[in-house]
């Protein structure tokens, strides 16, 4: 039987990818950020799963305004890094797991979540920066990846509640897959940031840290926070944080925190990071 063994949350700021790709991780600006992932990289090396279900948002790379799916799951056998306007990131091709993806898709749709099925797409920094943060710069990624793209760009995104419930449906789906696979689920994006208007540069460390606390201890209550609060307190792009609730919904009610990290800034953004395991 397949099982979800751990959850990871991390921001996916494009400048982090650029720092890695351009060998700038040791500069005074970036060193404190990458230091915050060192323990997680060691943990990950000892707990590398077979598959990662990677919840992220596409940033107008695979999806233009022609088609905007709320939840889109990748069922392909591979995904190429996207050209976001400055050429694709020099990172390995992302290998999929089409069999598990098909099973999860069928199971989740039968649990009343109407996923959009994607058989071909490129993946942008939203997906590849988290892989780089946790795995560094290998020749090939050590895991297969099932991308789950969530619309958080065109308002309204799905509610926190819906995301949390989708996570629960994904857990049931994974646990009903016959093959013995170790699966992690990652939730990415956030934390507080705003990339437009007079309020650009907004950071709300107090709100972010309360979000980290509640994601661990009170995800049920956190899932009822309305969009308006995210927009007002965490900025117009901070609403990406609803994606973390999908990850959390796929874990047990009680979790153990293996790592927690918070850092300001990465470019315009507050960076948050959690590694969670189901509590024994």
């Amino acid at each position: 039987m397949a099982r979800i063994t751990a959850g990871v949350a991390t921001s996916h700021v494009p400048a982090i990818g650029a720092a890695i790709d351009n060998q700038k991780t040791g500069t005074d600006y970036w060193r404190p950020l990458f230091a915050g992932y060192e323990a997680s990289k060691r943990w990950m090396a000892a707990h590398t799963p077979d598959v990662v279900i990677l919840v992220y948002n596409d940033h107008a790379s695979a999806f233009s305004l022609d088609i905007v799916p709320t939840f889109a799951i990748g069922c392909a056998d591979h995904y190429a890094p996207a050209d976001e306007g400055w050429g694709p990131r020099p990172v390995p091709m992302v290998e999929g797991h089409p069999e598990l993806a098909a099973h999860v898709t069928q199971s989740v749709i039968e649990q009343d979540f109407d996923l959009t099925i994607v058989n071909r797409m490129d993946v942008d920094h939203g997906l590849t920066v988290p892989l780089s943060l946790l795995f560094g710069q290998p020749k090939a990624w050590p895991v297969k990846v099932i991308p789950l793209a969530v619309n958080v760009l065109l308002y309204p995104p799905p509610s926190g509640r819906r995301c949390f419930e989708l996570g629960k449906a994904i857990r049931r789906a994974v646990e009903s897959f016959d093959e013995d696979l170790s699966v992690q689920i990652w939730g990415t994006g956030g934390m507080s940031h705003q990339l437009q208007g007079a309020r650009a540069g907004l950071i709300n460390a107090r709100w972010d840290n309360a979000f980290l606390d509640r994601l661990v201890e009170d995800p049920e209550g956190l899932s009822r926070v309305p969009h308006l609060e995210y927009l007002r307190e965490a900025g117009s792009e901070g609403i990406e944080l609803v994606m973390w609730l999908i990850m959390r919904g796929a874990l047990h009610d009680r979790v153990a925190v293996r790592h927690r990290f918070y850092h300001v800034p990465a470019s315009n953004t507050a960076v948050g990071h959690l590694v969670l395991e189901n509590a024994p």
Partner: protein, 120 residues
Amino acid sequence: MKKPYAEIPGTTVFDLDQARKGYHLNQFCMSLMKAENRERFKADEAAYLEEWPMTPEQRLGVITRDYNRLISVGGNIFFLAKLFSTDGKSVQQAVSGMTGMTQEQYAHMMSNGGRSPLAG
């Protein structure tokens, strides 16, 4: 429709009404993901823009790289990112220009914890 999020100061939420206004503007930006389109655009911006049924204000916003104007006429930052990437500018360079601060002042604010939510 009631839009309580429209009252957040200094913030334009990219909702379906904004997306409808900005459809061609954002799709133009999307076209800059292809290297050959970036080259054609850089060679003659006005001619390239003629290929897109955008409003005069949207065209002016592109030509002058006035990102606050482009947001107000339906642009979304992740689509506009294709435009400032074509110019070789980072997100922080483009975003700082919307705040009335110099890039240096903005970077300094970010390194000191960012803009306080209480400052509005």
